[in-house]
């Protein structure tokens, strides 16, 4: 295998929403810095925004303040948020939105030139082309080098300080070593942990990108970075089969959630993200399913508008309507997805300081991998990219360190490990077999769709035993080519995240969020014990739990060690 070494002042891992904006911010802050963005696919269409997005859901509309947004996210997560992170993010939402507009993203305006709100926090846009526009703005920065098609698998760390990362091409036989003085991790959350809604041919027709495998979480865990709130899983309420968003139908044409009897049930259970989902699960369990969004009777114009809106973000839904009859003729069936770990929607991810530094010195986190700040959406990810980049640049100006010699040994060990996977026994259980077994174990024993998202301690113990077995198996799996090598690393990452999720679910002995963490042994809220964060550090193969007290809104949080 060919080996390439690349030097950078600042390495940004993941060229999605947060990563691109971090690169732009750092490049503008210091045109002398050598910045490298490394991306598993191609930054023009990678990450969550690949197919587009229909609205900006995090914006401070006229008459509101950043505190209004913090209050909303805090309430939705029943207090388990980092208010310092939410506030610093909310303060930047409008300025990053203005920047998106200058990049060319159309935002709906009224005759007076003011943005048209979709709701108290939302703007109407055309987001089909948002990622190519963001990529173009990144490419225009002269001191940013973009390296597409390299899958980063591990950090290079010594004494809790980062010195770079190692990765492989999914196409050619090339290994990469990146040496850097600071690193921003901006990879995605983790999909594919649980058995999906459509486990057959359409298994990747899921809510979140199937290519976001949680690499950033797993790499952090392996070097002992502290993680937070992995028990707050995210489960989306979606259009059945196509797993397309429901919000556009609900908000666009005012469609209510109804059960099979035609009764509106959403008001019965509450309107928080998890409650909307919980209501749907409960109606099904009570024999009043399936559940729908009531769209029958909408006029022709509204139907056409829905076709257009979905083409700009989830074209499969438009095709489904055209093939099977439109929403004016039949209600849209809805269902919950499998659970995901994603810091852009819930609070799971790296435990970071207010300026987004992780517990590994020189490693900053932004977007879906950064914990504590749910409801980020697109603009929140941009804001975090900016915060992390500014802090990283400041640190680069203030400190210089040279990598110890052990870093080189580490890199060589990681290359040797990849060679091992490429030469393992081909008769060992396949990567796909291990992945399917993992998803089944998580589904049945860690609160997947088949369990209506609930779990018991006894089930979690079984889940952990099964995941441990599969972790041993994946080390023996054979990768016949570079693409399969990427797949092997992805399953390995997911297994580690599963281990962390199980430990966190077991540690929060209460039910604070229905479905997201439905602990059947402890069905009630326990504010006395659990009005605090569940954090963890991976050490000697075990996930060690640490409880931490809530951080206040006005606090500037810095790591103590």
């Amino acid at each position: 295998m060919e080996q390439k070494t690349i030097q950078a002042d600042l390495l940004i891992i993941g060229g999605g929403t947060a990563g691109c904006y971090a690169a732009i911010t750092a490049a503008k802050a210091d045109p002398q810095l050598k910045i490298v963005v490394v991306e598993k696919a191609d930054i023009r269409r990678s990450g969550c925004l690949a197919s587009g997005v229909n609205a900006l859901n995090a914006y401070i509309t006229p008459g509101h303040t950043p505190d209004f947004y913090v209050d909303y996210a805090k309430k939705d997560a029943d207090d388990i948020v980092r208010e310092d992170l939410l506030l610093t993010l909310s303060q930047r939402l409008n300025h990053v939105t203005a920047d998106l507009e200058t990049m060319g993203v159309p935002i709906l305006k009224d005759e007076a030139g003011h943005y048209v709100n979709r709701g108290p926090r939302n703007l109407k846009i055309n987001g089909e082309n948002i990622k190519p526009l963001l990529a173009r703005a990144t490419r225009r920065q002269r001191n940013v080098k973009i390296i597409n098609h390299v899958n980063i698998v591990d950090y290079l760390v010594a004494d809790h300080r980062i010195y770079g990362a190692v990765g492989f091409s999914p196409v050619t036989e090339t290994a990469y070593q990146f040496n850097a003085k600071a690193v921003i991790i901006a990879t995605g959350g983790a999909s594919g942990l649980y058995r999906p809604n459509n486990p057959g041919f359409s298994k990747h027709k899921m809510w979140y990108p199937p290519f976001n495998t949680g690499a950033g979480y797993a790499m952090g865990m392996r070097v002992g970075a502290e993680m937070t709130t992995f028990e707050m899983r995210f489960i989306a309420l979606r259009c059945k089969d196509t797993i397309a968003p429901v919000g556009t139908i609900a908000q666009g044409v005012g469609a209510k959630q109804v059960n099979a009897l035609g009764e509106v049930y959403e008001t019965k259970y509450g309107l928080k993200t998890s409650q909307r989902l919980y209501g749907t699960v409960q109606e099904n369990l009570a024999g009043r399913g399936p559940c729908y969004l009531k769209t029958t009777g909408i006029d022709h114009q509204k139907e056409e508008d829905l076709y257009h809106a979905y083409l700009n973000m989830a074209p499969g839904q438009t095709l489904k309507w055209l093939e099977n009859g439109g929403p004016s003729q039949q209600n849209v069936a809805i269902e919950g997805t499998e659970p995901y770990i994603v810091g852009g929607h819930t609070a799971s991810g790296y435990w970071v300081s207010t300026n987004r530094e992780t517990t590994i010195h020189g490693l900053f986190a932004a977007g879906d991998v950064a914990g504590g700040a749910p409801q980020k959406y697109v603009t929140g990810a941009l804001a975090e990219g900016e915060i992390a980049a500014q802090a990283a640049v400041k640190q680069l100006h203030e400190t210089t360190r040279t990598a110890p010699v052990t870093i080189q040994t580490q890199a060589e060990q990681l290359f040797a490990q990849a060679q091992q996977y490429l030469h393992n026994d081909p008769t060992a259980p396949s990567i796909r077999t291990v992945e399917t077994a993992m998803q089944l174990a998580m589904d049945q024993y860690a609160g997947g769709i088949s369990q209506h998202y609930g779990y018991t301690e006894a089930q979690l113990t079984t889940a952990q035993a099964k995941i441990a077995e599969l972790q041993a198996q994946i080390e023996q799996a054979f990768a016949p080519d570079m693409h399969q090598l990427m797949s092997l690393y992805e399953v390995r990452e997911r297994l580690l995240i599963c281990q962390c999720v199980i430990a966190h679910l077991a540690a929060r002995k209460e039910t604070r969020w229905h479905c997201f963490a439905e602990n059947l042994d402890y069905p009630d809220l326990d504010d006395q014990q659990y009005h605090r964060y569940v954090n963890s550090v991976y050490h000697n193969g075990k996930v060690e739990i640490r409880f931490r007290n809530l951080v206040k809104r006005a606090d500037v949080y810095e790591h103590q060690n």
Binding site: D42, S51, K124, P170, K205, F211, Y307, K320
Partner: protein, 107 residues
């Protein structure tokens, strides 16, 4: 749900293989016979990036039968201002929809 590549329309430019967020499309063959191949049809997310980037409309999108696909396909022809979407079923046109790239969504 996945995509199908028409070998006859494909000129081997490789744009789709580069842009696929899952690295699922592979270039095979040499010279005139260099063609894009969907190597992992069951790993497609359905993001349409390849469908939109193909300069020859050689790629079509379809829903798997397991999620209600009935042979319908979706193609896109993209220019700076608009995307022309064509939905067909068994050779017949279902609908043509033009979405502006400059106008915001109404919803």
């Amino acid at each position: 749900m996945s995509i199908r590549i028409d070998r006859d329309k494909c000129d081997g430019c490789g744009l789709c293989a580069k842009i696929c967020p899952g690295n699922l499309i592979r270039m095979e063959g040499e010279g005139k016979n260099r063609k894009a191949v969907m190597a992992y049809p069951d790993e497609c997310w359905g993001c349409m990036s390849c469908v939109k980037v193909c300069p020859h409309q050689a790629i079509e999108y379809y829903l798997g039968e397991d999620i209600g696909g009935k042979g319908g396909t979706l193609q896109a022809k993209v220019n700076r201002k608009a995307i022309e979407w064509t939905a067909c079923q068994k050779g017949c046109l279902l609908e043509k929809i033009i979405t502006s790239r400059e106008a915001s969504n109404k919803y």
